[in-house]
């Protein structure tokens, strides 16, 4: 094989991966997810969550609030670090701050939906449940380990956490509709996948187009590869047009709507609708079938339009669009490059390497997954196609989850920023715990995949946690006791 054909093959692999991703996965899950991320960022006031994270909040409220607050507040890196510093220095303290820092990236709406659609809902669910639990666990452990520092740091209270803003009903309905749109587009249940009507478009030649596409992007179903359908090609074309019209229509949308805004929004709606249809090309016509999905998607979009016009004021809608588009601009180009690169690299990796390293659910394999996640830094969402590649090359789902949890948590950059806020010792202790817990999460999930019962998994989880907390409690009590003995001692010395 000459070098040229080899290069062509690699590029074809990249293009194939890219096209397959854009056409098959991205649209019905990622487009709504971007809009949800935009809405969370633009429409939910920070105080709606931060008021549960003040200094006086009881632990039973502050830890869960920190964990779930990540879902709402951590969509943007602009928010995570300042809020982390704020909770640590002026709010509920080290524990909840760490919980927030850990859970935020793991339950990011974009990453979750993308993981769910591209790899499997089971792994997305495991990611949510385990990272919320372990996030709270790590927070508690850190708070206990450093309880002395935590008690002594800045006593000042500020009004920063005293806000009482709440979320209006209109906004809530709007968010629920967006989530409904996402669910309608991604859920595979028969109500949604059944056909309800059929239209034949009498245009010939689509079968030849499909053949041409198959030639351009050759694929091997046995390797888990997908080709590009006619529908996919149309959608990719539409996406490109949306990109252009959104550039003119959404870049400065916070200053007011223009003609391009309307054009790009209609195109987005059209694209989502087409993506929900079932399209079959034949020699004489293009057959379009209306699925339950199409109806649900259309209904959700009409509902959104109604609520936006009736209950949201103009500036809210504008900010929502601006934020959503900003996320697209920030994340999408990197994602495209990443997916392309994954397609190219895939050709180089010998499946045997992966299978030997992480083919079964051992502790070592999970550690390998975590180590890879820590030392490799990928932009937001790119970890997902990479994980999918590993999966198709034979990685076990357990180590895969360990990798997926640790990758967005820890990068050299985030470790440095974290240590500038809480100090080097605390930061490295945190890093160590994240590594331990990610390994544990992967191993537990892997064991469940391999057939361990849910109850057994849950029991192990609880027993491990309970044990750890009891030990830490005991240690910190002893520390405190010896500390107070010391102060008593020194007081006595002073008195004498």
């Amino acid at each position: 094989m000459s070098t040229l054909t080899y290069v062509i093959q690699l590029v074809q692999g990249g293009l194939g991966n890219l096209a397959a991703y854009l056409a098959a996965h991205v649209l019905l899950c990622l487009l709504p997810a971007f809009f949800i991320a935009g809405a969370l960022s633009a429409l939910i006031p920070r105080e709606a969550v931060t008021r549960y994270l003040g200094r006086d909040a009881p632990k039973l409220i502050s830890y869960p609030a920190a964990a779930l607050g990540g879902f709402v507040l951590a969509v943007c890196s602009c928010t995570i670090m300042p809020l982390f510093a704020g909770i640590y220095k002026k709010g509920a303290g080290l524990g909840p701050a760490i919980t927030f820092l850990f859970v935020g990236p793991a339950i990011n709406i974009l990453a979750l939906t993308y993981t769910g659609v591209a790899i499997g809902m089971d792994i997305a669910l495991a990611r949510i449940i385990l990272s919320v639990l372990f996030g709270i666990g790590i927070g508690l452990i850190m708070a206990l380990t450093f309880s002395r520092d935590d008690a002594s740091h800045a006593e000042e209270t500020t009004g920063a956490f005293a806000g009482t803003a709440s979320v209006s009903t209109g906004t809530k309905v709007f968010l629920l509709l967006l989530i409904a749109l996402l669910i309608a587009g991604t859920l595979q249940v028969s109500v949604l996948t059944n056909d309800y009507a059929r239209v034949m478009l009498p245009v010939a030649g689509f079968d030849r187009l499909q053949e041409a596409l198959d030639q351009l992007v050759p694929f091997d179903p046995s390797q888990g590869e997908e080709g590009v359908s006619v529908q996919g090609a149309i959608l990719i074309g539409l996406l490109a047009v949306i990109g252009i019209s959104a550039w003119f229509g959404l870049n400065r949308v916070d200053e007011g709507y223009n003609r391009w805004t309307a054009i790009s929004l209609s195109l987005i709606a059209l694209t989502l609708f087409i993506a929900s249809l079932r399209v079959t090309p034949s020699a004489t016509a293009l057959e379009l079938r209306l699925t339950g999905k199409s109806l649900a998607v259309a209904a959700a979009m009409l509902g959104l339009l109604y609520v936006a016009v009736k209950y949201l004021d103009d500036y809210q809608t504008q900010e929502w669009l601006w934020e959503s588009w900003r996320f697209v601009k920030q994340i999408f180009p990197l994602l495209i490059v990443g997916v392309f690169a994954v397609g190219v690299i895939r050709g180089w990796i010998n499946p045997l390497w992966i299978q030997t390293l992480a083919g079964s659910n051992t502790v070592l394999a999970n550690l390998v997954g975590v180590a890879f996640g820590v030392f490799m830094y990928f932009p937001t969402l790119v970890e997902v196609p990479i994980a999918k590649m590993f999966l198709s090359l034979g990685m076990h789902r357990g180590p895969l989850l360990a990798y997926l949890i640790s990758d967005p948590e820890l990068s050299l950059q985030s470790i440095l920023i974290t240590s500038s806020i809480i100090g080097r010792t605390k930061a490295w202790v945190y890093v160590a715990w994240v590594a331990v817990f990610s390994t544990l999460a992967g191993w537990l999930y892997g064991a469940w995949v391999d057939g361990m019962s849910v109850w057994m998994t849950a029991a192990l989880l609880l027993a491990g946690f309970g044990g750890l907390l009891t030990i830490l409690r005991w240690v910190s009590k002893r520390q405190r006791a010896s500390a107070s003995a010391e102060t008593a001692e020194s007081k006595r010395a002073e008195a004498v």
């Binding site: 006031p45 105080e47 931060t50 510093a85 002026k90 009004g159 920023i417 806020i421």
Partner: protein
Amino acid sequence: MEIKVLGIGCPKCKRLEQIAREAASEAGVEATFTKVTQIKDIMAYPITGTPALVIGERVVSSGRIPQKQEVITWLTEAMTVS
């Protein structure tokens, strides 16, 4: 008058700065702009979210991007106070 934009350099902070500059020139206010990008310095202000806007050492908004009209109002208010 001193206007500070607090934020670690994300797109939102840049947009806020742009809006604040436009607002200042529209309101005819002479202002010096400072960008505060270090977490430590940002946390000196009573805020929980960036981007935040500080006019004459008073935090006028945080965690969101205000409308240009709002910024103009704050600027004129600050002018009449000083």
